[in-house]
């Protein structure tokens, strides 16, 4: 069977499994008042021997009028937040590590929604008049900063956030977007996030979150997504949906001893829930009413002509628990989803799903239409350039092959680039190279929105809508900048490390990240519907580090020391000269001498 992995056999596969658990509570005052909660886990083996695990918790509650209202499942603090700041939608993510778009894919809903730039990213849409948006944003950042033990309050300054129009859900209204690329993410951010769950990490899927194994991961992103869903015409009927997701990419322990570099046919490591997380799922818990588990896998067999029907024999792995339901993806990659509702396994005390690979399998995940990378050019402390380089992947090549043979085919690429004000970007120097040839911008740029940075007030923002031909091989955007000088108190700590330029966002509205499963009839869990949701493909580029000129920070100290010495000498001598009276001093001395003499002569008079 090792033949499968030899050249000539392109063997694509991806596979995930979902746990689902939902609870609903009703306080008896009508259908709209019902609160609902689901929890699901999706596991997906990645081509580079790692495992993606994606926890998805969804909490839904009606929006009440009073601030004091207590919910059964929904976190009160979030409800108050929504109420107070009139949030229509909001997303907050804490990320450590980088999503590897090349190996882990960029065309599925997981990567499109959960691959985030390192650090903190926050966007929010407010339902307030335009002049109040900034004020609401500032209050919101402070509130979130307190809630999540993070320095989100630094997003309050107008130099850190901006208002992009085309990249995010622009239809919703006044949006603000800000990132903190240097924010360190750790367990103190996870604990408040878990607090929002009905049972914290005491029961249910979150009990799996073993801190050491989660923070040992190659990618770690916790996300909080808030939306207001209107059920009827009446605005009072709106419900708040809180989605909490945790995406981690883990390396299962490899049991084989010797590592051999020539092992071309690398076995995928076999794993189980307990070997990844070190814990199992306990079914017998109070809140847990249902627990489902989905698992899916797909295979396209290129050369050996195996069709999908008998994948069970050929995929080359074995599952320790039989799935309840198998769903096949039909449109893009034909992946397969195995579903495990936990209620089936109620009899067994603990649920431990495992996968055992029988022979080596090589596959690749679908990539975003263009693989984007961004880098800095130039050196020195004076000027430089930012280049965004986009290379075509198999997705665009497939597009060319599939349709539009007769007519000219284009696809849209949206680019959002935000630069801090101390990077003074010259927008007129924007150059576009398509297939390594310089091009006139207007031929490819459909729309462009630039708001230049204002010193110490606002960052620069550039949004581009590009129309690229489908057969494009590479496209490079290049823009030059000057490095600014900062005032000494504007330098952050560790200024000599350099300054961050937040990730650019590249989105492809013409491509749909959602998956299409074979039977849509069966009841959908929130995650399943999230996977099927039509959404544009989004990818983030790297964070850049620009070294700026830094002063010698010990200089003020030296100046202060010298000035203080001079002042001390001056005032000291002046005061001394003013206060000293020669005659009086002499008299004092004489008096003192007399009394001492007196004491010496009459020691008995000394009083103790």
């Amino acid at each position: 069977m090792a033949l499968l992995s030899r050249k000539g056999t392109l063997f694509m596969l991806f596979l995930f499994s979902i746990f689902l658990l939902s609870a609903s509570a009703s306080n008896g005052s009508g259908e709209e008042e019902e609160e609902e909660f689901w929890e699901e886990l999706l596991l997906k083996p990645l081509p580079d021997r790692k495992v993606l695990s994606h926890f998805h918790f969804q909490n839904e509650a009606p929006l009440s009028d009073s601030f004091a209202r207590h919910h059964h499942l929904f976190p009160k603090s979030i409800a108050q937040l929504v109420k107070k700041f009139h949030i229509k939608a909001m997303e907050l993510s804490f990320t450590q590590g980088r999503w590897n778009y090349e190996r882990w894919g960029g065309f599925d809903p997981i990567s499109s929604h959960n691959a985030k730039p390192p650090g903190v990213e926050l966007w929010a849409v407010f339902d307030v008049p335009p002049h109040q948006v900034d004020a609401s944003w500032k209050d919101l950042t402070h509130a979130l900063s307190g809630l999540f033990c993070a320095s989100i309050n630094f997003l309050e300054s107008s130099t850190t956030y901006s208002a992009p129009k085309w990249t995010f859900q622009s239809a919703l209204g006044s949006l603000r977007y800000g990132t903190l690329p240097r924010e360190a993410v750790c367990t103190e951010n996870l604990t408040p996030w878990l607090k929002l769950l009905p049972c914290r990490d005491k029961a249910g899927l979150s009990a799996l979150m073993d801190r050491p194994s989660i923070y040992k991961s190659f990618y770690h992103s916790q996300r909080l997504h808030l939306t207001q869903a209107k059920t009827g015409a009446d605005p009072k009927n709106s419900r708040v949906v809180l989605e909490q997701t945790l995406t981690v990419v883990l390396q299962p322990n490899i049991l084989t001893g010797g590592t051999n570099y020539v092992s071309e046919a690398k076995m995928q490591p076999s794993w189980s829930l307990s070997s990844i997380f070190g814990r199992k799922i306990n079914v017998e818990r109070g809140l847990v009413t249902q627990l489902e588990n989905l698992q899916s896998s797909t295979a396209t067999f290129a050369a050996n002509g195996t069709n999908l029907d008998d994948f069970g024999r050929n995929v080359g792995f074995e599952l320790s628990v039989n799935p309840d339901r198998v769903l096949k993806e039909v449109e893009k990659s034909s992946s397969i989803l195995y579903e495990y509702p936990i209620k089936v396994h109620k009899d067994s005390e603990q649920f431990d799903l495992g996968i055992t690979w029988k022979h080596p399998v090589i596959w690749s995940t679908p990539h975003a239409p263009l693989y984007a990378s961004r880098f800095l050019m130039g050196s020195g402390n004076e000027r430089g350039a930012i280049a965004i380089c986009m290379k075509s992947t198999e997705s665009t090549q497939g597009l060319v092959a599939a349709n539009y043979v007769d007519q000219r085919c284009n696809f849209q690429v949206n680019v959002l680039q935000i630069v801090p004000w101390y990077i003074k970007v010259y927008y007129h120097t924007l150059q576009l190279f398509v297939d390594e040839k310089p091009q006139v911008l207007t031929d490819f740029v459909e729309r462009m929105r630039v708001s230049p940075s204002e010193d110490k007030v606002s960052p620069g923002l550039m949004e581009l809508v590009l129309k690229l031909p489908c057969e494009v091989k590479s496209a490079v955007l290049n823009i030059e900048f000057d490095k600014g000088f900062l005032h000494i108190d504007e330098y952050p700590p560790d200024a000599n490390q350099g300054f961050d330029i937040p990730s650019a966002i590249i989105s492809f509205p013409d491509f749909n990240a959602g998956l299409q499963f074979s039977d849509n009839s069966i009841s959908k869990t929130p995650m399943l519907s999230k996977l099927q949701e039509r959404s544009p493909v989004i990818s983030y580029t790297e964070v850049l580090l620009v070294p700026l000129t830094t002063p010698d920070f010990s200089m003020p100290y030296n100046v202060i020391t010298i000035t203080c010495t001079v002042f001390a000498l001056y005032f000291g001598s002046l005061l001394n000269a003013l206060r000293r009276r020669v005659g009086e001093e002499e008299r004092c001395l004489n008096d003192k001498g007399n009394t001492q003499l007196f004491q010496f002569l009459h020691p008995k008079t000394q009083v103790t």
């Binding site: 590592t259 310089p438 790297e542």
Partner: protein
């Protein structure tokens, strides 16, 4: 054909090893850069657009680059390891350096503490180590998006042998520091030791902390002897040893007087320190990078070359594993230290001269001798000007108009000095045309160059009206040399000050050669007329200094003094100058535009008819 198969096979093997470690691997093709004289490229960064037309696929160099992404890092910074390696002629030293780098790389691919990405560049050194590294850096830092369509389409075939290799150029953040690892080819018979090379172009040095890290880890952790280059001929010189002994005695005596005074150092340490200092100054002054690390400094990245030199030659070495283990631990330690830094190297010394691997002379100290050398120049110039303006109005009738004209007399001399400097510029640009003529040997080139220089100088003097000794010079003409000398001194001072900003070591060496001559120069005629013992001595001194300060003579004298291997040829001078302009060294400009004209002017003063 056989060679190219071996090349691609060895590249494939390296790429295979890198892929086995889960690294991202790419090949980087580059065209060898030809050494050409670019008059305007002395202070600009190298340009990638110059690709000679007739380049075939066979002459393409190919670097292999492996990148390890830090598992939990944010990918903003990177550390570069470089191992130069010639696939056409594999020698054991290079293979061992690959082994050391691979062992470090494989360790780093597994560790959890990594915060910066690691780039391992296996530089194809068949066209020189420097050019491959600089080509890669150019692509990394300043790529050309607009490709010149050479016949590279067919050449790229070989770069994508394995389907898994991503075809594009890969990058990883801002480069924090770079380390070039080499293994010396022949054993040194003493002990395992480590050579550090740090000088980059125009005497730029990496941050001293980088050298300190390597020094500390090598000496205290791996017990390697660490070495920086020395002037070996100085070690044996008697007068230096004597000086050292004298200083040691003085130090001991001073300590006996006051135990607080601790300036005395042992004689052998003094001699070694001086030899190291001289070599450090020479290599900085030369302005030619001492290794591939120089390419990094052009992009403000701190880098050094670490050459591990084993006790026995690698071919006779029994235990390669031990050697790799020791070298690997050192490199790992250095990488780990840099990795743990939150900020890049800053606020430490960039301006220093090394006296030993752990000792240095900082800018504050070495400025003093230069300032002392330079300070007399403006003072003497001023006094000479005063002297000449005071003595001229001795003429019987001195009206107001005449006086004002007299005070502007220096304009004449300034004109002369200016023209001579223009001549210097012309002389230093001449090699640009000389290299265009094919089939000239270095000796021929030098002859043409020298004869042109002399001829043009003679023509210039005849045009300027060289005062002939036949006519009896007037009193004013007699004093003219003082004016000329005053302007020459000013010009020298300005030139030296400018050069000290660009390359301090060059200015210092140049000042040592030219300043005494400038100060001493006075017409020989005066000395001969006086015929006293003192003036004759002065004249001899002047002639000797004039001989020493002449650039080719200075070069040959220094070479014979410091280079023990015999065989001095005048064509060496041409080769030396050629290497200077090939590396865009500012020293070349200094010699052509400051040193040579000042020397010519001083010689002119020397033979002035007074």
């Amino acid at each position: 054909m056989f060679h190219s198969v071996i090349c691609s096979e060895s590249r494939k093997l390296i790429a295979q090893y890198m892929l086995g470690l889960d690294a991202e691997v790419t090949y980087h093709n580059f065209y060898p850069q030809l050494n050409q004289f670019h008059p305007l490229h002395f202070f600009t960064s190298p340009d990638s657009s110059i690709i000679s037309k007739n380049i075939s696929c066979a002459s393409i160099g190919m670097n292999t680059v492996g990148i390890i992404r830090a598992p939990r890092g944010d990918g903003k910074e990177a550390i570069v390891l470089v191992t130069p390696y010639n696939p056409k002629k594999v020698v054991l030293g290079e293979a061992l350096s690959l082994g050391v780098a691979y062992s470090v790389f494989s360790l780093l691919s597994r560790v959890t503490w990594l915060a910066k990405d690691i780039i391992w560049l296996v530089a194809d050194s068949q066209y020189g180590e420097y050019s491959s590294v600089s080509a890669w850096l150019r692509e990394y830092q300043a790529p050309q998006f607009h490709r010149v369509v050479v016949n590279s389409e067919t050449c790229n075939e070989s770069s994508t042998i394995e389907g898994k290799l991503y075809s594009g150029f890969r990058r990883a953040g801002t480069i924090a520091a770079a380390l070039v690892v080499k293994v010396a080819e022949d054993g040194n018979h003493f002990d395992d030791s480590l050579n550090i090379y740090a000088e980059a172009s125009n005497g730029q040095m990496p941050n001293l902390d980088l050298i300190n890290i390597v020094n500390y880890l090598a000496v205290h952790k791996q017990h390697l002897r660490i070495k920086v280059s020395k002037m070996w001929s100085l070690l044996g010189s008697k007068w230096l040893n004597t000086l050292g002994v004298v200083l040691e005695c003085i130090g001991q005596y001073a300590r006996r007087l006051n135990p607080q005074w601790k300036f005395g150092i042992p004689a052998n340490e003094y001699v070694e320190g001086t030899a190291t200092l001289a070599s450090s100054m020479y290599y900085q002054g030369l302005g030619v990078p001492t290794g591939p690390h120089g390419a990094f400094r052009d992009y403000q990245v701190d880098a050094i070359t670490v050459e591990i030199s084993p006790k026995v030659s690698p071919t006779k070495m029994n235990r390669h594993i031990d050697f790799i283990f020791r070298g690997g631990r050192l490199i790992e330690g250095v990488v780990r230290s840099i990795n743990n830094l939150l900020e890049k190297f800053h606020q430490s010394f960039f301006l220093y001269l090394l006296t030993s691997p752990s000792k240095f002379v900082s800018v504050g100290v070495y400025m003093i001798p230069f300032a002392l050398l330079g300070a007399p120049l403006p003072i003497v110039a001023a006094s000479l000007y005063m002297f000449s303006s005071k003595t001229t109005p001795q003429a019987p009738v001195a009206s107001e108009v005449d006086f004002s004209l007299e005070s502007w007399k220096w304009i004449n001399s300034a004109k002369k000095v200016f023209v001579i400097h223009l001549w210097g510029v012309a002389v230093s640009l001449l090699p640009y045309f000389l290299c265009r003529i094919p089939g000239l040997t270095p000796t021929n080139n030098l002859t043409v160059w020298g004869s042109f220089a002399v001829l043009s100088l003679v023509i210039l003097f005849s045009m300027l009206g060289y005062p002939t000794s036949v006519a009896v010079p007037s009193e004013a003409e007699k004093r003219e040399w003082a004016n000329l000398k005053s302007v020459t001194l000013s010009a020298t001072f300005i030139g030296l000050s400018l050069m000290s900003v660009i390359n301090f070591a060059t200015a210092e060496i140049g000042a040592l050669l030219i300043v005494p001559f400038c100060l001493m120069a006075r017409p020989l005629m005066l000395d001969i007329q006086a015929r006293s013992m003192r003036t004759l001595l002065l004249a001899t001194c002047n002639l000797a200094l004039g001989f020493i300060a002449f650039p080719p003579c200075a070069f040959l004298l220094l070479k014979s003094a410091f280079d023990s291997s015999g065989g001095y040829n005048i064509s060496d001078y041409w080769n030396w100058m050629e290497s200077l302009w090939a590396w865009n060294s500012a020293t070349y400009l200094y010699i052509g535009i400051v040193h040579l004209p000042c020397w010519a002017l001083c010689i002119h003063i020397l033979f002035h008819p007074s």
